[in-house]
């Protein structure tokens, strides 16, 4: 008797509880989810700072691309189109760019002038800024005359070749013809700053609060920030002062910050989100079955194993070839990675343009497909050349991300099977890896490389002898001269040929082992149309053309 009484009491209590709770949720907010023209997205992490010059991560860039606009912005295919600049002239020698600005305003209604761009660019180059961290991405602007000296603290601000001729004309002088300069101009680091607004920002510990909070952001892009609840959400609203406002269709974009991807997916299934990233392969099928549209896009990155070419064993080219050919890329991509990624038979990612076609189409594959049989013969050759009786044991450094560990295990298995080589996996934080690879204290490391602008040089330059990131220790004068010739070349076709030649040369020596071109998957509600997932960090998520059906 007592037992059943207790149960009844408990259930009544629970029912009462849930009724009280139920009554308390806000019906207005619930309705808002269903209202039209509101897009709910999760961005995965809190943007550290919404300051275009200082942002480096993809989270702040997703917001910055919506809230700010540079002289150019990337179109649906990732090609620069007019942004704040209505049009531009490029001089015959391709060294002088003159940008003519349109009648565009900041979101508070003040005119955008050429000086706003000059100030922003000089700010990004400032080696010793008074009230903010030196900009990491400022180096992208080093192609401008005098910029390198200024950035390195050797030259002065006045000698940098940026001139605001009048309110609406900006003249930029470059040191070398830089065909991808417009790509750089569309980047976050080259977006304008309203100096008057900036100077009014309060300081915290000597650092300007610019970009730290909603009241510290003044943008000029298609959207304005209406709410910013840190680690919770950012609400964007259409900017009525934007010059192209009539073509912006969404009224509100709700950027939810959900760090845990599986709860983001549950939120998506429950209808709280319209777009969600997919991190595990099995989720693709599950979401497809639920009626979502699952798409994948090339992130512009190449996953590869960097090989230390100065190592006592790995300096042998045949051993490196054995490692490269020992990987079955097709099964790696289809059975292990399973997110739509594409197998890589060269280094430059297929999104990179190269004249009429993509650079990849022009140059072709540089590693023969499925040649695991050959791997063994290369391995035997290397044994003879190295005067060894057994295969040496090698080590592979891997960062602590789940996907990296997964890839490393597959590689270990394939190398054991196809080359007969034992590889030990060393997992550590990326900071530790960085320290070791910069000192060339490693044999192999699993890495991912993406260019900061859409040009083959952003991939190929890391193999030049003098490059800071030449961690493979590739040292080839022929390669260096091809690269510097390409830099001076003004004829686009000839330049691409030189770069093709350079990549072909690179793969004669196999200093790295390419694995796959990284694709990301995401699920989207069928009603969402015109969402662009570009291949550059700044355009990772672009709702410029997005609308709801």
């Amino acid at each position: 008797m007592r037992f059943s009484k207790g149960i009844i009491l408990l259930t009544t209590c629970l029912i009462c509880f849930s009724m009280i709770f139920a009554g308390c949720s806000d019906p207005k907010k619930q309705e808002a989810f269903l209202e039209e023209n509101i897009l709910n997205i999760s961005i995965g992490g809190e943007p550290e700072v919404l300051d275009p010059q200082l942002a480096i991560d993809v989270y702040p860039m997703r917001v910055i691309n919506a809230v700010f606009e540079g002289l150019c912005r990337n179109d649906e295919k990732g090609v620069p189109m007019p942004g704040v600049a209505k049009f531009w002239d490029i001089s015959e020698d391709k060294l002088t760019y003159t940008f003519y600005l349109r009648e565009a305003t900041w979101s508070d209604g003040t005119q955008i002038t050429a000086k706003d761009f000059k100030d922003a660019w000089l700010r990004a180059l400032d080696p010793n800024p008074k009230d903010h961290q030196p900009a990491l991405m400022g180096y992208l602007l080093m192609c401008i005359e005098g910029a390198e000296n200024y950035l390195y603290g050797e030259g002065s601000k006045e000698d940098v070749g940026i001139e605001a001729k009048d309110d609406k004309t900006l003249v930029v002088k470059l040191t070398k013809p830089t065909p991808y300069f417009l790509q750089i101009v569309s980047n976050s680091v080259a977006m304008p700053i309203n100096s008057e607004f900036y100077s009014k920002q309060p300081l915290v510990e000597g650092m300007s609060k610019y970009g730290a909070d909603i009241e510290n952001v003044l943008g000029n892009g298609p959207y304005v920030i209406k709410e910013w609840n840190h680690n919770e959400d950012i609400v964007l609203e259409k900017n009525p002062n934007y010059w192209n406002a009539e073509n912006i269709k969404l009224s509100t974009v709700n950027l939810r910050i959900i760090p845990d991807n599986s709860s983001a997916i549950t939120s998506f299934k429950a209808g709280e989100l319209d777009i969600v990233e997919i991190s595990e392969a099995h989720q693709r099928d599950e979401l497809k079955a639920k009626g979502a549209v699952v798409e994948s896009y090339n992130t512009g990155a190449t996953q590869y194993v960097s090989i230390n070419n100065e190592d006592k064993y790995l300096k042998n080219v045949n051993l490196r070839k054995a490692l490269v050919y020992g990987i079955e890329r097709e099964s790696l991509v289809n059975k292990v990675v399973k997110d739509g990624s594409e197998e890589a038979y060269a280094f430059v990612n297929p999104v990179v343009g190269g004249g009429n076609n993509s650079f990849r189409q022009e140059t072709g594959d540089l590693v023969r497909r499925d040649n695991t049989a050959e791997a063994e013969s290369f391995a035997l050759k290397s044994l003879v050349e190295l005067k060894l009786s057994d295969m040496p044991k090698l080590s592979l450094l891997v960062d602590d991300m789940e996907t990296s560990k997964r890839d490393a295990q597959a590689l270990q298995e394939m190398w054991r099977k196809n080359v007969g080589i034992e590889v030990e996996i060393e997992t550590m934080s990326f900071e530790s890896i960085q320290e070791r690879m910069m000192q060339k204290d490693y044999q192999m490391v699993l890495l991912r490389w993406s260019g900061d602008y859409n040009d083959p040089t952003s991939f190929l330059e890391i193999f030049e002898t003098e490059n800071y990131f030449n961690i493979v220790g590739f040292n080839n004068s022929e390669y260096d001269s091809l690269m510097s010739k390409a830099r001076e070349e003004t004829d686009e076709k000839k330049r691409m040929n030189l770069l093709s030649e350079a990549e072909e040369l690179l793969f004669k020596y196999m200093p790295i082992c390419p694995l796959y071109y990284v694709h990301n998957s995401y699920a989207v509600k069928p009603k969402v149309k015109g969402l662009v997932r570009g291949s550059s960090a700044i355009q990772d998520m672009d709702f410029y053309w997005t609308y709801l059906e």
Binding site: F3, C24, S25, V49, D51, Q133, R256
Partner: protein, 317 residues
């Protein structure tokens, strides 16, 4: 009492100083580069940044500068959120953790005590077994499993079912976020579960012990009703052991909510406690260690005072 608080104050100052010193030492001996760059950034630029933060100066000098700032109550600027001070980040995130923690503590205490009493009064009967079952789950299943599971079952399945049945857009428990009362229920219940399980077991055994003591027998002999005996004499004395674990329990609820905060996307402090170490955000790590040690000291002091108030036999020395 006054002398007790003074002594605690001095001791806590020493503790805090040691925490700051040790974390400082540990952080500066962590392997790896200062700034992670997966890009082709010139080394000169990284040097400029190192200089900007004074990280190129001798370690000892850095230590004394930092200590000086801490004495003034300034925990410095975060090295990841480069224009936010550690103080503001804590002051924004901690209230959320406290909000969640207090809700959880309330649930854990009230449900734990009630279920503990029920179990004790129904010793070795089915109701006792049910509470045993609940508390075993609470102790054995870690928070992140319980969190994911309840998010799926309650927030997704049940809520989806209810809104389909009623045909409205109304959602009982939202999956993620921190926007209102309905968002707080599932996370705080999950966070409370582990603590509640401990409280149930403690309450049950201590109440059973108390009920066998002489003064309870005396009360029975006097002819008091069993209800009066339990509410007036039993429960009050059975609560002592719970008060003594309340300190550590509430600290673990307040600061150990990382997994729950992550699963339900709650903008609390737990996120920073974990990510700041991964991201080598020096100032943030040291600041948070200092802050958490302060919280632990504070909570323990409050528990001691509470204990002396409840039981006059305990004297604070």
């Amino acid at each position: 009492m006054f002398r007790f608080i003074c002594r605690r104050l001095v001791l806590s100052l020493i503790t805090v100083w040691m925490v700051v010193t040790f974390t400082f030492l540990l952080m500066h001996h962590m392997p790896g580069e200062l700034f992670v760059v997966k890009k082709n950034v010139p080394p000169q630029v990284l040097e400029n940044i190192t200089q900007k933060y004074g990280l190129d100066r001798p370690k000892l000098e850095q230590y004394f500068i930092y200590l000086g700032n801490v004495v003034r109550g300034d925990l410095g600027i975060s090295m990841k959120y480069t224009n936010k001070s550690v103080n503001t980040i804590i002051s924004k995130a901690f209230p959320v953790s406290v909000d969640l923690g207090l809700r959880a503590l309330f649930i854990a205490l009230s449900m734990g005590i009630i279920l503990g009493i029920i179990a004790a009064l129904n010793k070795n009967k089915p109701l006792d077994d049910i509470t045993l079952f609940i508390s075993v789950i609470g102790v054995a299943v870690p928070g992140f499993v319980l969190g994911t599971l309840s998010q799926y079952l309650l927030c997704y399945k049940l809520t989806g079912f209810l809104s389909r049945v009623t045909g409205s857009s109304f959602r009982l428990f939202p999956v993620s976020g921190w926007k209102g009362f309905s968002y707080t229920l599932v996370p705080s219940a999950v966070l409370a579960f582990g603590a509640m399980a401990i409280i149930i077991r403690m309450m049950r055994s201590s109440l059973l012990d108390v009920l066998e003591l002489n003064y309870i027998v005396n009360a029975k002999v006097k002819g008091l009703s069993s209800r009066e005996i339990i509410t007036k004499h039993g429960i009050k004395n059975a609560l002592f052991p719970i008060v003594s674990v309340l300190g550590p329990l509430s600290v673990s609820i307040l600061l150990g909510s990382f997994a729950i905060e992550k699963i339900f996307s709650i903008p609390g402090l737990g996120h920073y406690l974990v990510t700041s170490v991964q991201e080598k955000d020096y100032t943030m790590v040291i600041g948070l260690s200092l802050f958490t040690s302060l919280i632990v000291i504070l909570v323990n002091t409050i528990t001691d005072i509470l204990y002396s108030i409840m039981d006059p036999r305990v004297q604070l020395k």
